[in-house]
Symmetry: C2
């Protein structure tokens, strides 16, 4: 999965897009250890899976990934339209998760917020939401 | 609409929650001028309405508010479960938008990202997504 870099990305922007790509690679491969490393482990983290209510705190967020990875549904993505903004020690990425599933492609709009840590950029908030087919058609 | 403040909020957290409340007041009252003042006017702003694809840039985002406020649907909210995090000049709020509509209550999970400007905190990203009824039931 190659991030769509801006024309003149800053080192911070490149690092954040790398963290974003690692998130989707861990998601696709159902790699709970790597997914755990990608997130900040704190009470302030939050996660909204498509159609879900907001989960807050690492205990709830990590439990949701465990449940998703333990379930039957294996997801494959093509991530497109990545945009990254860095402001100090916070960055946010928007992208489309194009789910490859049973012949039809379903899009999920995602917002991912990262903060700078000693060990690199860590995910503190993920929000994914299904894009209705008619809205996908309108955008194309 | 009274924001649910943390037990010992910082001045920044109070200011961000005020900006978040102003956003929902402008939304409810379909006040395009106030909505415009709440947002940063730049290429980096982004907005995901429930079920919509990602809109980027102030031109697209402002056009979406114009279209929503020009339409027939008048929305009333009760905003609950507000949580705010401030990191330097960036803050993000999560909350539930409980839509009062024809007897049934529908919840939208929202992520709002603000940045500090000379004139106060400005909205740079809004992401709202419908919460499925069965997930609302699970959370309660």
């Amino acid at each position: 999965m190659v991030p769509s870099l801006p024309s003149d990305p800053s080192p911070d922007a490149i690092a954040v897009l790398g963290a974003n790509a690692a998130f989707y690679e861990a998601f696709e491969s159902r790699d709970l250890d790597t997914m755990s490393d990608i997130w900040e482990h704190s009470d302030r983290v939050g996660c909204v899976h498509p159609g879900w209510a907001i989960l807050t705190g690492w205990a709830s967020v990590s439990a949701s990934w465990f449940a998703l990875f333990d379930g039957p549904q294996r997801l494959q993505f093509i991530v497109t339209d990545e945009r990254v903004e860095v402001a100090g020690d916070v960055a946010w990425v928007t992208c489309n998760e194009n789910l490859l599933d049973t012949g039809a492609t379903q899009a999920v709009a995602a917002t991912n917020v990262f903060t700078r840590a000693d060990v690199g950029w860590r995910l503190v908030h993920h929000h994914g939401s299904p894009v209705e087919q008619r809205m996908q058609a309108r955008e194309q």
